[in-house]
C-alpha cells in the first residue's frame, strides 16, 4: 500500500486538482469560496498552502480527499488522485481511499480525538476496518510510530484516553494515527496552531521527521509563513479563494513577486521606538500577589509588578503560566490570596464589588476574542454608548456625538457603522470596537489580554499600530498579555516573562531581549519560527549540539 501502483509513470502527479471550485452555503445562497484553483502534487513532495482566514486553504486540503464539509459542495473542476477521479465518485469508493491512501491531521487534536475511546483503539480503527492490518499488528505499529514521534512511554501511552494526554502529545498521536495505513498523501490542517510556541517546534520536528521517513506526500496548511517555510518544498499563497502566487519555498520566502506575499512577509517587523526608563511614579503597583482558584493549586505565586504612566508592559508566557489570572486579579474578578494592588499609590479593594465606579472607570480591559466580547444583540451605538452613560452620565445628543468621535478615533466611519450589529463586522473591526468601548470610559490603564492572537497577522499589525497611536494621543498605559513574542517585540516598553505562576525575568525590552537571557526566556525566544528556510533544522541542530556539550537544555513542559 506504500506507493500505490508501481507501474504508474513517475512523472504522473499523485494528486492533480484542476479548476477546483467549491461553494459554501450562506443562508439559502451558495457563495463560491474557492474559485478555480489548480493544485499539483507529486509523490514525496510537501506542498504548503498559506493564507489568512477565508482564503479557502482548509477547504482545498479537504477537497484533496474528495470531501466537502457540511454546508459546502465541490461545484466544479477535477480532482484526480492517482488516476482516479474523486469529484462525483460514489461515497464508498472515496471511503476506500480515505484513511488508507489519504489521511488527515486536524488542527485541534483535542477535539478530533473521540473522547470516549482510547488512543490506540482510534489508531487501530482505520487499518483494521480497511483490512490493512490485524488488530495486533496495528497495536505494534502504533507503538513504533509513537516512539518515532518521540512520545513519552510509547508502550503505554496508547492505552490512555485523549483527555489524559497533553495537547502537544495528542497532536503527535494524531500524526501517528494518520500514518497508520502508510498513506500516500497526508493533509496537515494547521497542526500546530493551537500549540504553545515551545511545543510547536517539537511537533514540527516530529512531523517533518516522520514524513521524510515514510516518504509520503503532504499538503501542509497554515497561516504562518515562517512555519510553512520550514515544512514545505513548494508553497501556494491563497487569498479569498484565489491563488496569489505559487513557487518553491525558497522563491516565495526570498523572492516574492506579489505585493500580498510581501506584506505577509513583512509582518512582525514593526517596532515601537524605545521609550527609555520610566519617569514618574508607577500607575499600578502589584506587591507579592498570590492567587488560586477555589481548592486548586496556586496559579500565581508572589508576583511583583509595576506599570508606569504611558508605558506598555508586556506579560509573556505560555498557556498555564498565570498571565491571564494576573489580569483577573488586577481587575478584581479573582481576589488575591495574598498581596496588595495599588493604583496611583492608593490600595485597590481586592474584590470587584468593593471598588467604586471611578476606580472601575480608570481600569479597562480588552479581550482576546472580539466575537465573545461584544454582545451580538446590541448595536455599536449602545455598546460604545453604555460606558459613556454609565461612567460619565452622557445622554442624548452629547452621547451620540461622543460615540461618533470614538468611532472616528478607531478609524470606522460613524455613519456607516453606528447602527451595525457586531455580526456585521469583520474580526479586526470588532476588536476596534472593543478598543473604542474601553476608550469611552476615559481610562488610565487598559489591560490587553491576547488582543491580537485571534486575528490574522496583517489585521493584528493594524490593531497594534492603532493601540500605539492611541497611547501617544491619549497618554494611556497598557498591560499587554500575550504568548506571541513578535507582538512583545513590536509594542512593549518593558517585558515580564512568566512561568508556572512566577515571574522569571522582567525588565526593559532591550534588556530582556538581549542575551544573556534567563534559560526559559531563551527557550521561548529560540522557539519562535523565523522567516528563513532551514531555521527549524538549524535550531534543532543547535539544541542538539548544546546537549551534546553537556549543557542543560530546557524542554517544553508539554513534552
Amino acid at each position: 500500500m506504500n506507493s500505490g501502483d508501481s507501474t504508474t509513470d513517475v512523472r504522473e502527479p499523485l494528486l492533480k486538482m484542476t479548476g477546483l471550485r467549491i461553494e459554501g452555503q450562506a443562508g439559502e445562497r451558495w457563495n463560491e469560496i474557492v474559485r478555480g484553483v489548480d493544485v499539483v502534487l507529486h509523490r514525496g513532495e510537501v506542498l504548503g498552502l498559506i493564507g489568512e482566514s477565508g482564503a479557502g486553504k482548509s477547504t482545498i486540503g479537504l477537497a484533496a480527499m474528495g470531501y466537502a464539509r457540511p454546508g459546502c459542495r465541490l461545484s466544479g473542476g477535477d480532482i484526480v488522485f492517482d488516476g482516479m477521479e474523486l469529484r462525483g465518485a460514489p461515497e464508498d469508493r472515496k471511503r476506500d481511499l480515505r484513511g488508507v491512501r489519504i489521511a488527515y491531521v486536524a488542527q485541534s487534536a483535542a477535539a478530533a480525538f473521540n473522547p470516549a475511546h482510547r488512543l490506540i483503539d482510534q489508531f487501530a480503527e482505520a487499518p483494521v476496518h480497511h483490512g490493512v492490518k490485524s488488530r495486533a499488528e496495528a497495536e505494534a505499529d502504533a507503538k513504533d510510530l509513537y516512539r518515532r514521534l518521540q512520545l513519552p512511554y510509547p508502550e503505554q501511552i496508547g492505552y490512555r484516553y485523549p483527555h489524559q494526554v497533553s495537547g502537544g502529545q495528542l497532536q503527535r498521536a494524531m500524526t501517528a494515527m494518520a500514518m497508520s495505513c502508510r498513506p500516500d498523501l497526508i493533509v496537515f490542517d494547521e497542526p500546530t496552531t493551537a500549540l504553545d510556541v515551545t511545543t510547536q517546534i517539537e511537533v514540527l520536528a516530529a512531523i517533518k521527521d516522520v514524513v521524510r521517513h515514510l516518504d509520503a506526500a503532504a499538503i501542509y496548511i497554515t497561516h504562518d509563513l515562517a512555519v510553512v517555510a520550514q515544512m514545505a518544498d513548494r508553497i501556494m499563497v491563497l487569498r479569498y479563494g484565489d491563488l496569489v502566487e505559487e513557487g518553491t519555498a525558497d522563491q516565495i520566502i526570498n523572492r516574492p513577486r506579489e505585493k500580498y506575499t510581501r506584506e505577509l512577509l513583512a509582518v512582525r517587523t514593526y517596532r515601537k521606538p524605545d521609550a527609555g526608563p520610566p519617569s514618574e511614579a508607577p500607575l499600578l503597583r502589584i506587591e507579592g500577589v498570590s492567587a488560586r482558584y477555589s481548592r486548586s493549586a496556586r496559579v500565581l505565586e508572589d508576583v511583583d509588578l509595576e506599570i508606569g504612566r504611558r508605558r506598555t508592559v508586556a506579560v509573556v508566557g505560555e498557556s498555564g503560566s498565570g498571565k491571564s489570572t494576573l489580569a483577573r486579579v488586577i481587575t478584581g474578578l479573582l481576589p488575591p490570596e495574598e498581596g496588595r494592588i495599588f493604583f496611583e499609590g492608593e490600595a485597590l479593594p481586592p474584590a470587584l464589588p468593593g471598588r467604586n465606579r471611578e476606580m472601575l472607570r480608570r481600569l479597562q480591559m480588552i479581550y482576546q476574542m472580539p466575537d465573545t466580547a461584544l454582545n451580538p444583540r446590541q448595536r455599536l451605538r449602545d455598546i460604545i454608548g453604555r460606558p459613556l452613560a454609565f461612567y460619565l452620565g452622557l445622554t442624548g445628543r452629547k452621547r451620540e456625538d461622543r460615540v461618533r468621535e470614538l468611532l472616528e478615533m478607531i478609524e470606522l466611519d460613524p455613519d456607516d457603522f453606528i447602527d451595525r450589529y457586531p455580526t456585521e463586522l469583520s474580526g479586526g473591526q470588532k476588536q476596534r470596537v472593543c478598543i473604542a468601548r474601553a476608550l469611552a470610559a476615559q481610562p488610565d490603564l487598559i489591560i490587553c489580554d491576547e488582543v491580537t492572537s485571534a486575528l490574522d497577522q496583517l489585521v493584528a499589525e493594524e490593531i497594534l499600530k492603532l493601540l500605539q497611536r492611541l497611547q501617544d494621543e491619549l497618554h494611556l498605559s497598557y498591560m499587554f498579555i500575550t504568548h506571541d513574542l513578535a507582538t512583545v517585540r513590536a509594542i512593549s516598553d518593558e517585558i515580564v516573562v512568566m512561568l508556572q505562576g512566577r515571574i522569571v525575568e522582567q525588565g526593559a525590552r532591550n534588556d530582556v531581549l538581549t542575551p544573556p537571557h534567563h534559560e526559559y526566556t531563551n527557550l521561548l525566544l529560540s522557539s519562535v519560527p523565523e522567516m528563513k528556510i532551514g531555521w527549524l533544522d538549524r535550531t534543532l541542530a543547535e539544541r542538539e549540539k548544546r546537549r551534546a556539550r553537556g549543557e542543560q537544555v530546557m524542554e517544553s513542559a508539554d513534552r
Binding site: P70, D92, R98, A106, P115
Partner: protein, 318 residues
C-alpha cells in the same frame, strides 16, 4: 475512582435531603386539604356525633407536628402506617399496586426504549431523508394528542371494533405473566406512543448535535461507514443526554400515568393516590406521594450516576 464515589455520595445526600423536604411539603399540603377524612368517608351520612367519634379513634385531634414526627419515625422503620379509611396496612395496600405500576412501566419501557433509540439512531443516520421527516412528523403528532384521546381511539379500534385486546385491564395476582401482558397491552401501547416521541427526538438531536464535532469529521476522513460512525463514535458521547431523557420518561411511566390508569381501569398507584386524596386518607396520600417523589429522585440519581459512569473524563481521571 474516589472522585466518582464522592460525586455519587454527594448526589445521594442531596437526594435524601430533597426527599426529606418533599416529605415535609407533602405532610403540610395534606394537612391543608379542606374537609376531612371522616366527612369524606361517611359522606352524606356523617353526623356530628359520628364524625367526632371517628376523629377520636383516628387520633386526628393530636397536633400536626407530633403526627409528622411519628409518621417519619414509622417510615424510617419501614412502617408506612395504616389507612385511616379501612385500617389496612399501607404497605399491603401499596404492595400489589406498586407491583402493577412497575409492571406496566416495565413492559411499556421494554417496548418504548429500544424502539425510541432505534428510530432515533435511524433518523440521525438518514437525516433529511423522507424517512427522517416522516418519523419526525409522526412522533411530533403523537405527542400532540392528549393521552386520553389516544387511549380512547386505541380502545375504539383495537378493543371495540377489532376485538383484539380487552378494553379494561382487569389485572389480578393469580394471572400468569403472558396473560397479564395481554391484558396490559392497550395501556402500555398508549404510554409507548406518548413517550417514544420524546425519547426518539432526543436521541436524534443528541446524535445530530455531535455530528458536527471534529472527531466525527475525523472518523469520516478515516473512511469509516456511516453506521459505524454513528454507533461507535457518536452514540457513546451522546449517552448522557439520552440517558437523561430515558430516565425522565421512565419516571413519567411510574408516576405520571394517572389518566391511563383511569381510562383503562388499571389498578396502579396513581389511582390509589387519587382515591386517597378524594377520601382524605392522609397516611395513604403521604405514603404514595412520598413513594412517587422517591421514585423520581432515585431515577434522577440513577441518571446522574450513569452520566458520570459514561463520561470518560470522570471514569479515567488524569
Amino acid at each position: 475512582m474516589t472522585q466518582i464515589l464522592t460525586m455519587v455520595a454527594q448526589r445521594l445526600a442531596l437526594g435524601l435531603l430533597t426527599l426529606f423536604v418533599v416529605s415535609l411539603i407533602i405532610f403540610l399540603g395534606v394537612e391543608l386539604l379542606p374537609g376531612d377524612l371522616t366527612q369524606a368517608i361517611l359522606g352524606q351520612a356523617a353526623t356530628e356525633e359520628t364524625v367526632a367519634a371517628f376523629r377520636r379513634e383516628l387520633k386526628l385531634d393530636l397536633p400536626p407536628h407530633e403526627r409528622y414526627v411519628a409518621w417519619l419515625g414509622g417510615i424510617l422503620q419501614g412502617d408506612l402506617g395504616h389507612s385511616l379509611a379501612n385500617k389496612r396496612a399501607i404497605t399491603e395496600l401499596m404492595g400489589v399496586r406498586l407491583w402493577n405500576t412497575l409492571f406496566l412501566a416495565f413492559i411499556s419501557a421494554a417496548v418504548a426504549v429500544p424502539l425510541a433509540l432505534g428510530l432515533g439512531i435511524l433518523a440521525a443516520l438518514y437525516r433529511g431523508t423522507p424517512y427522517d421527516r416522516a418519523v419526525n412528523i409522526v412522533t411530533l403528532s403523537s405527542i400532540s394528542f392528549p393521552e386520553f384521546f389516544v387511549a380512547y381511539i386505541l380502545i375504539l379500534v383495537l378493543a371495540v371494533q377489532l376485538g383484539w385486546f380487552p378494553s379494561i385491564s382487569n389485572i389480578g395476582e393469580e394471572l400468569g405473566f403472558w396473560e397479564r401482558v395481554y391484558r396490559s397491552i392497550l395501556p402500555a401501547l398508549t404510554l409507548t406512543l406518548v413517550v417514544v416521541a420524546h425519547m426518539m427526538r432526543m436521541t436524534r438531536a443528541a446524535i445530530i448535535n455531535l455530528m458536527a464535532s471534529p472527531y466525527i469529521e475525523m472518523a469520516n476522513l478515516k473512511g469509516l461507514p456511516r453506521v459505524r460512525i454513528i454507533v461507535r463514535h457518536a452514540l457513546p458521547n451522546a449517552l448522557a443526554p439520552i440517558i437523561n431523557v430515558v430516565v425522565i420518561n421512565l419516571a413519567y411511566l411510574v408516576v405520571g400515568v394517572v389518566i391511563v390508569e383511569v381510562v383503562f381501569v388499571y389498578p396502579g398507584l396513581g389511582q390509589l393516590l387519587i382515591d386517597a386524596v378524594r377520601t382524605r386518607d392522609i397516611p395513604v396520600v403521604q405514603a404514595t406521594g412520598l413513594f412517587f417523589a422517591a421514585a423520581y429522585i432515585l431515577l434522577n440519581l440513577t441518571a446522574d450516576v450513569l452520566s458520570i459512569l459514561t463520561n470518560p473524563r470522570l471514569l479515567h481521571p488524569r
